[in-house]
């Protein structure tokens, strides 16, 4: 087990290194120069001297390889560098400020999704082809098929403008969380419903379930003791797997609802060529995904000894 663990951690480390190189290269390939943004909206003239001074200040005039190693070295020491655009603010700070917003939203959305998806998924599988199965299918299909920015705008129009129940943007009060969480939970819910339903459908015809039932165990108990507990495993896996999608899910939602989370920080930074921020964010996320994946695999290995060999 410990060699397996060491191996996995080593592999995870290489994944992160690979991603950091990839991001670094891609960001530098981007046409344009952040220096021009620092100079403002162009109403005033700029001189080459001014540009050179700014480039030198940020080390943008050094060779690329050197820039990479400086950055990677600092990163290993926990120093994410400083933002080009928000000069004076350490990137560590910006990320630390944005992460709680995104994580809170995702945690609520995930909790909501689980609370809805698990019972509905179970019910749909147990009563296959019944009305509840149909409803579940339709709800989850729509959840997957609706572009989230569209859904978000529609909800704002209905709940903020027409009904006046909820604020149209921001997180000033708890009401502000309702709509963004709802939008994010919709897709999550749809996916989890499908997984739950599928996992249970797969377990129902299996031998140990039949055995338990033939032994006279009440159906309800069989369901909870044997089926649901086993079906949770793939659900856990998918939840872990969805971590990689946190960023994609929140970019749009955070933009529409004007929330200062990771997703918006990322897009804004890409569009402003704020290298340090983009690179650091991607690496932070890569680490997060690698760690979560490792944890899910460990959970799996603990529960199901057959997998432990790899």
């Amino acid at each position: 087990m410990s060699t397996y663990l060491t191996f996995r951690i080593l592999k995870g480390f290489f994944v992160v290194v690979l991603i950091s190189i990839l991001t670094f290269v891609i960001m530098r390939l981007m046409p344009g120069d952040p220096v021009f943004l620092l100079l403002g909206d162009g109403q005033i003239s700029i001189t080459q001297e001014q540009i050179d001074a700014i480039r030198a200040k940020w080390g943008l005039d050094r060779p690329l390889i050197e820039q990479y190693f400086v950055w990677a070295g600092n990163l290993l020491r926990g120093d994410f560098g400083e933002s080009l655009i928000r000069a004076g603010v350490p990137v560590r700070y910006m990320i630390a400020e944005a992460i709680p917003v995104t994580l809170t939203l995702n945690a609520f959305a995930l909790a909501l999704a689980l609370v809805v998806a698990l019972p509905m998924g179970i019910a749909a599988a147990v009563r296959r082809n019944s009305p509840i199965d149909y409803v579940t299918n339709v709800v989850s299909a729509f959840g997957i098929a609706t572009p989230n920015f569209w859904l978000a705008l529609m909800l704002i129009v209905i709940f903020a403008l027409q009904l006046g129940w909820l604020p149209p943007f921001g997180l000033r009060t708890w009401q502000g969380y309702v709509l963004p969480v709802l939008v994010m939970a919709t897709e999550e819910m749809a996916i989890l419903m499908r997984i739950t339903r599928g996992a249970i459908l797969e377990l129902l015809p299996q031998d140990f379930v039949r055995t338990a039932r033939s032994k006279g165990m009440p159906d309800r108990r069989v369901l909870w003791r044997h089926v649901v507990s086993n079906a949770l495993l793939p659900v856990v896996t998918v939840v872990g797997f969805r971590v990689a999608f946190i960023l994609s899910g929140t970019i749009v939602v955070e933009t529409v609802f004007a929330l200062p989370g990771i997703g918006r920080l990322f897009v804004d930074s890409v569009l402003r060529l704020d290298y340090q921020v983009v690179q650091s964010l991607v690496v932070v996320f890569a680490v997060l995904v690698v760690v979560v994946n490792l944890l899910t695999d460990l959970v799996y290995a603990l529960v199901d000894p057959r997998i432990r060999m790899s």
Partner: protein, 302 residues
């Protein structure tokens, strides 16, 4: 995550000779699934609309301007009304189906081809080849797809080709995983060892024995991913990184329409509805295929 790879069907000894019978049964099962059939009909109609768009569309999607009609709502002659440049929205939505299908299907095909090849090679050869390729796959999985798309679209400059190639080149990891597991199991089998002993080519073994065995799971995954790619295209348009104007795309019309959601809501509603219906149709087909090809098979949708 290797362990979460969907378990594919139990290996059949000869790989191919049971297939025809199974296929017929599968077809019957698929046809019995009402939603899947409806989905198939919808997609077929959509393909026809896309192919014959120039004959179906009442107006030119980009060039026909109707003076003073900006944002005017639906009417008999213009069932979907006009967009923010006073063009006929119906014609644009019709032409938009082309892009939706091209992006959805072509990118999926590209990613399937890459994924199957990489997965099969990794699984079949094992060893350091597997390690390197798995590392690449893991890295891609850990890299949020939309982030990669945003950065790449910004680097290369957005266009239809960019969108298709970038999505195709980044969405293959999940196929690689499925196929890799199959490749591993095939490698261990006696007839492969025998084949290799008598000098059969690796490529031949891969294509004869690995690929056919994973095809059903790959097809299911692929049909489900067409929908999510169509959604992805609209998200890219939302961020201003989608297909270039004036090309009519649903995501693009939707993204443009959001600024006018209070005054001219129809601009955002119609393409939105089309996206929802199309993605639904592809998902129903995917579900139908999954149930038909192997009723017990579990496929991670995520």
């Amino acid at each position: 995550m290797t362990s979460s790879t969907p378990t594919t069907n139990l290996p059949t000894p000869q790989g191919t000779d049971v297939q025809p019978r199974r296929r017929n049964k599968a077809l019957a099962r698929f046809l019995a699934n009402r939603m899947a059939v409806i989905g198939t009909i919808f997609v077929t109609l959509l393909i026809l609309v896309a192919v014959f768009a120039p004959w179906i569309a009442p107006h030119h999607p980009n060039d026909d301007l109707f003076r003073g009609m900006r944002g005017v709502g639906p009417s008999l002659e213009h069932p979907m009304g006009f967009d923010h440049l006073s063009r006929d929205l119906l014609s644009r939505v019709i032409y938009g189906s082309r892009i939706a299908l091209i992006v959805g299907i072509t990118s999926t095909l590209i990613s399937v081809v890459i994924g199957v090849i990489i997965g099969a090679i990794a699984g079949y050869f094992g060893g350091w080849v597997d390690e390197v390729l798995s590392l690449l796959t893991d890295a891609l999985m850990a890299f949020p797809l939309i982030a990669l798309l945003i950065v790449l679209a910004a680097v290369i400059g957005p266009s239809l080709t960019t969108t298709v190639i970038v999505i195709g080149a980044t969405a293959w990891a999940r196929y690689a995983r499925v196929v890799r597991a199959e490749g591993m199991s095939v490698r261990e089998r006696d007839f492969v060892t025998a084949a290799r002993a008598i000098g059969a080519f690796d490529a031949r073994i891969i294509f004869r024995h690995v690929v056919p065995n994973v095809l059903s799971s790959v097809i299911v995954l692929a049909s489900l991913s067409v929908g999510s790619i169509i959604i992805l295209e609209s998200a890219l348009s939302f961020l201003g990184l989608g297909v270039r104007p004036p090309t009519a795309t649903w995501g693009g019309i939707l993204a443009d329409g959001r600024a006018f959601i209070l005054r001219y809501p129809h601009i955002a509603v119609f393409p939105g509805v089309m996206i929802v219906l199309t993605v639904l149709a592809f998902n129903f087909i995917g579900d139908g295929l999954r149930d038909a090809l192997d009723p017990h098979q579990k496929v991670d949708r995520a």
